[in-house]
Amino acid sequence: MIYFDNAATSFPKPPSVVSAVQHAMLYYGANPGRSGYPLAQKTAKKVFEVREKAADLFGIDDTDGVIFTNNCTSALNIVMKGLLKEGDHVVVSDMEHNSVMRPLFTLKQKGIIDYSVATVHFNDEQTIQSFAAQICSNTRLIICTCASNVFGVIPPVTKIAKLAKENDILFMVDGAQAAGAMDIKLKRDGIDFLAVPGHKGLYGPSGTGMLLMQRLEMLDTMMEGGTGSNSFEYSQPKEYPDRFEAGTINTTGIIGLGAGIDFIMKTGVSAIHQKEMALAEYMYAQMSNIEEVTLYTNKEQLKRCMPVVSFNVAKQTGEETASLLGEKGIALRGGFHCAPSAHVKFGTDQIGTARLSPGYFNNLKQAKQFIEILKKITLK
């Protein structure tokens, strides 16, 4: 099998991550933050070290702003449901994943908030104008993906952050496709909240994610429970990050995530991005020579994208193409990728797309094999 579904989750993981998970299972088995015996303390320290690594990678000053979650979706939900109050308005981009759109839609259905959709163009000025046009007097939050999970398009996040700041609006970025492969620094880039999965570009295990905050906004909790502290107080602690980490945390996963962050720091975000982009560009160039293949970004636009290439073959749906490729040993995702508005934007809302997303552990030989197999299925 050749794995080109890294936008869904990265695979394989670096050997150091696999070792760290095993090591955690063997030597960090206690519950952190509950007890004082040495193993519990050692485990708590190990988890804390991952907070420090994450704070360093994403440019925040305080480890209190690193909240471990189950995935990126949880992190996004914590902010939307913890921040937004009755009468608030939100501006989102037209490329958001359902991890953003469904919570917003739910809040809107309940009559709590309203939202407007801004258009992302390949021209930054037009994009900013579109976001600015959607801002209302009650806009509390702007949410934008760091990169489309379907087409890889990168919106001008730092310019949107500036717009948000000028209008005294909080800004949240969905870093699902960018974390680990794009240099994101919250303080430097003016981002208030960054939601990231641990299991994609950060190379951690499934079931890990983080919410990162440079400024600690007091958010309501979505979930309350034990934190190992102040047990006779029924109200949830106000201290971050404990406030949002009720219940036993995923120690093994978090320690694995720490090894993933180490891998990124050692390899370099830029080196990872360049390698993945080189493979994406190669396959894009080869695919553009196959008559039956439809691509949705042009060559120039691809340079402003993450290494995610959506395509279709003849009149097949994306799912059909993915299924055919799957039979030939190519693992990639087909369909709508939980991002309907992105498909409406690119005119693929009827058939979806097949999505190619190379990762750091892919190589040119695999890319060439993919092209050969793709050529064969287009001849059928």
Binding site: A44, F48, E52, D62, G228, S229
Partner: protein, 77 residues
């Protein structure tokens, strides 16, 4: 050597404090508050081997909220 005791609810804050203190070359030790029978609330006690003023200066700087304790672990009044 001068030693201060402080109660901290969160293990994350205790570890953050320990990290900050070590940057100033100040040793500290974290233990569960249950080791101090006068402490009724559950959390952590950090022993800091520095003056009270210096300890508080660092803890305030990093935004860690603490309750000072006397040497028996009772609340310092």
């Amino acid at each position: 050597m001068e030693k201060q005791l402080f109660f901290i609810y969160s293990v994350n804050h205790a570890l953050k404090a320990q990290r900050a203190l070590s940057k100033y070359g100040i040793a500290s030790h974290i233990s569960r508050s249950s080791n101090y029978r006068h402490v009724k609330s559950c959390g952590y006690v950090i022993e800091i081997f520095a003056s009270y003023e210096k300890s508080m200066e660092i803890l305030n700087h990093i935004g860690v909220s603490v309750t000072p304790l006397n040497q028996n672990g009772g609340a310092k009044i």
